[in-house]
């Protein structure tokens, strides 16, 4: 830990970080565009300049140097004395802001970034209220640079964060800065558009409204959105995300910084993969089968129906004929409640880790880098909680097995009752399951969409998307990460956690934190994991 003095206040900071990073972490609001902790330093925006004390070359006496230093490029040194709160620094910030706005079109009313734009924020805080520019502005072109992104170069401040992102993080090099001086602009090589699996991040790193997400384009003013910290369920990496919603509609997902898991990034698959939560075809009400027909039942009756069916079944066929298939899309809390409930009725029931959707191989970024230089990984396991569910099945004692083995054993008639949980965004039921369902006398299916399983089930319980639930996922590395509820469930539906809570005989409202506390008595992995995911150290 180095001790440095900023504006006459002594702070402790991590060794080797730039002064800018140390100041931001200690609570200073230092304007900056080109600096991003995940990218290399270029020190080109000149907004973060500071004054520094150095020994006089002749006398050795410490004094303020009559020039400014870029704080993003100056690493902290023990005993360093710097200041941002001075006339010279403020003058520089003011001049820089004036310069950034020289060619800016000031089209905030029609700009998607307005409200979360650092040109707006810094103009208000560090800039001038008027522009002295009277000459004709240079208007940069608006470009369609790829399947998911627009580039409005008239709004660009040339921080080159996006170019450095494609060079250093994605390793795909699509973006470049062409021309020189006032006519410099971000571009792609014609015919080689920005198109890589993590391209959405260039929109996030852009501090202004220059890079725009086509998916979010003109959809919503950002001040109407409220964000909820969450965890991406797209793969077992478990990226920390923020769910931005307005009036119960999710408009976009943004990554939050989470060192060691996703740093500052997320992939497009996760970013744009939330559309299914607003699908009209989703199941919303519990239904029971009566002969060839199905009939909606009241939620209040569900605990009784479920308990009755399973108790009757166990009495008739014995408790080893029951299987519970825990989906890796479930949260740890839900899986724990369900396995406890089933084992309560049928102690010898088999706990099965559900179907794990796997696509291709792990994709590492930068593309083609060595194993030790990997900055971001998209894992092939397209579910968030395989490890958590496996752990819960294992710790619950009794028999456990994988999904393939379950299918094999169930086909040969080992089970006659099952509770199968789905909850996958895409069609998932394997063909072999048609043989399995024929063997099952009692079948409870908990899923988001109707499929062959729900058609054969004696009781169908609608599952909710992760944004409607709260709980925690355990990622591929065994890290338990809690997520919060972002939107309300659909009319008529109920959160999975809530009905599992009620079925298990608990009274009151389900809360992920509460259930996690109960779990922590048996499993220390779930103790003290914090109420909310870690706070971002760097907002933009």
């Amino acid at each position: 830990m180095a001790k440095i003095t900023i504006d006459e206040k002594v702070i402790e900071c991590r060794d080797g970080v730039p002064v800018l990073q140390a100041a931001i972490e200690a609570g200073w609001d230092i304007p900056h565009y080109c600096y991003h902790p995940g990218l290399s330093v270029t020190a080109s925006c000149r907004l973060c300049l500071m004054e520094m004390q150095l020994p006089h070359p002749k006398t050795g006496e410490m004094g303020w140097v009559p020039k400014l230093f870029p704080s993003c490029q100056t690493p902290v040194r023990d005993g360093m004395i710097v200041r941002f709160d001075s006339e010279v620094v403020r003058d520089n910030q003011k001049s820089c802001m004036e310069y950034f706005l020289i060619d800016h079109p000031l089209d905030c009313p029609v700009c998607d970034q307005a409200g979360e734009c650092y040109l707006q924020d810094y103009s208000q805080k560090f800039g001038n209220s008027k522009s002295r520019m009277v000459e004709q502005k240079l208007v940069g072109p608006k470009k369609d640079i790829g399947p998911k992104t627009y580039l409005y170069s008239d709004r660009c401040v040339m921080c080159t964060r996006c170019v450095r992102f494609t060079e250093e993080i994605s390793g795909t090099h699509e973006l470049c800065s062409v021309n020189r001086g006032a006519r410099r602009e971000i571009d792609v090589f014609p015919g080689m558009p920005l198109d890589n699996p993590i391209q959405g991040n260039v929109v996030d790193v852009c501090p202004v409204g220059s890079l725009l997400d086509k998916d979010f384009f003109f959809k919503q003013r950002v001040w109407f959105l409220s964000g909820t910290p969450s965890v991406c369920p797209g793969c077992s990496t478990g990226c920390a995300i923020r769910v931005d919603q307005n009036e119960n509609t999710v408009f976009r997902l943004k990554p939050r910084s989470n060192p060691g898991v996703n740093d500052w990034w997320m992939c497009d698959e996760g970013r744009f993969g939330f559309k299914y939560i607003h699908d009209e075809k989703r199941l919303t009400a519990p239904t029971v089968r009566r002969g060839a027909d199905t009939e909606e039942v009241r939620w209040d009756d569900v605990p009784e129906i479920v308990s009755f069916r399973f108790e009757q079944h166990v009495a008739k066929h014995g408790d080893d004929s029951v299987a519970v298939v825990l989906s890796p899309m479930m949260s740890c809390e839900e899986a724990w409640l369900l396995v406890k409930f089933i084992r309560g009725i049928a102690p010898a029931a088999t706990a099965v880790t559900g179907f794990v959707p796997t696509v291709g191989e792990a994709q590492h970024f930068p593309v083609g880098c060595d194993a030790e230089n990997v900055k971001f990984t998209i894992l092939p396991e397209k579910c968030p909680n395989r490890r958590g569910v496996e752990l819960i099945a294992e710790r619950a004692g009794g028999e456990t097995c994988g999904f393939d083995e379950f299918v094999k054993r169930a086909t040969s008639g080992a089970f006659s009752a099952a509770w199968i949980v789905g909850g996958y965004p895409e069609a998932w039921v394997p063909k072999e399951m048609t043989k399995v369902v024929k063997q099952l006398e009692t079948l409870v299916v908990q899923d988001i969409f109707a499929n062959t399983l729900t058609a054969a089930a004696s009781l169908v319980l609608p599952a909710c998307a992760w944004v409607e639930r709260d709980g925690s996922f355990m990622n591929h590395a065994g890290k338990v990460q809690p997520f919060e509820r972002a939107i309300r469930v659909r009319d008529g539906a109920k959160r999975d956690g809530q009905y599992l809570f009620e079925i298990s005989g608990h009274v009151g409202l389900y809360s992920g934190d509460h259930v996690r506390e109960m779990m922590a008595d048996e499993m220390k992995e779930f103790a003290n994991i914090g109420d909310a995911p870690p706070k971002p150290v760097h907002q933009h």
């Binding site: 470009k143 640079i145 090099h173 015919g191």
Partner: protein
């Protein structure tokens, strides 16, 4: 819906267009590799070689240079577009570069430029119909002591007067250099001090 945008997804050339860089040019670019630690560092010499051979560096040529240097074409485009020296579209046989900086401006540089425009019937950044001359202006040619001055290819013409223009442009030898040209961008054969083959 968006405002009118330029579509950058459209390729600048046909996918099945024939290669524009000959094997000899590629070999010459490769001969610069031993000079530098990385292949990417040979980008500027490579661009000079291409411009000297083809007269300009087209988008097709950029992708081929990128292929030889094992970098992304956008990196070639990035560097190339920084320098006004490089042309991305065909230019005339000879390039006239007129100084538009302050000394020449004061001593009649603008009149020289106007005379050239009038004589050739082209504007700035344009090429004559016969493909003989391209006309550009540049900030300073470092010949302020001989103002107004202009370049024809690499030959500096000093104290040019508007009246001299027709005669000067009619002269076929008006780009002939008085002294030998710099060999900086000709890869010397003996650059590899460790005895390795220069073409490796």
């Amino acid at each position: 819906m968006a405002w009118k945008t330029i579509d950058r997804n459209e390729p600048a050339f046909d996918a099945d267009a024939p290669n524009v860089l000959s094997d000899a040019v590629r070999e010459k670019i490769r001969s610069f590799f031993p000079r530098y630690e990385t292949k990417q560092a040979a980008l500027l010499p490579a661009l000079h070689v291409v411009q000297e051979t083809l007269g300009h560096v087209s988008f097709k040529a950029m992708t081929e240079v990128a292929e030889v240097l094992e970098i992304h074409p956008s990196q070639v485009f990035d560097t190339l577009s920084f320098y006004t020296h490089f042309w991305t579209h065909p230019k005339g046989k000879k390039t006239i570069t007129v100084c538009r900086s302050i000394t020449c401006e004061l001593l009649g540089g603008r009149e020289v430029l106007d005379a050239i425009k009038k004589h050739l019937g082209v504007g700035e950044h344009e090429t004559t119909a016969d493909g003989e001359y391209s006309l550009v202006t540049e900030e300073c040619l470092a010949g302020c002591d001989h103002s107004p001055c202009m370049l024809i290819n690499e030959k500096l013409h000093k104290r040019v007067q508007p009246a001299d223009i027709p005669k000067l442009l009619a002269d076929t030898d008006n780009d002939k250099l008085d002294m030998p040209r710099s060999t900086l961008f000709d890869a010397p054969a003996d650059v590899a001090s460790d005895g390795a083959s220069v073409t490796s």
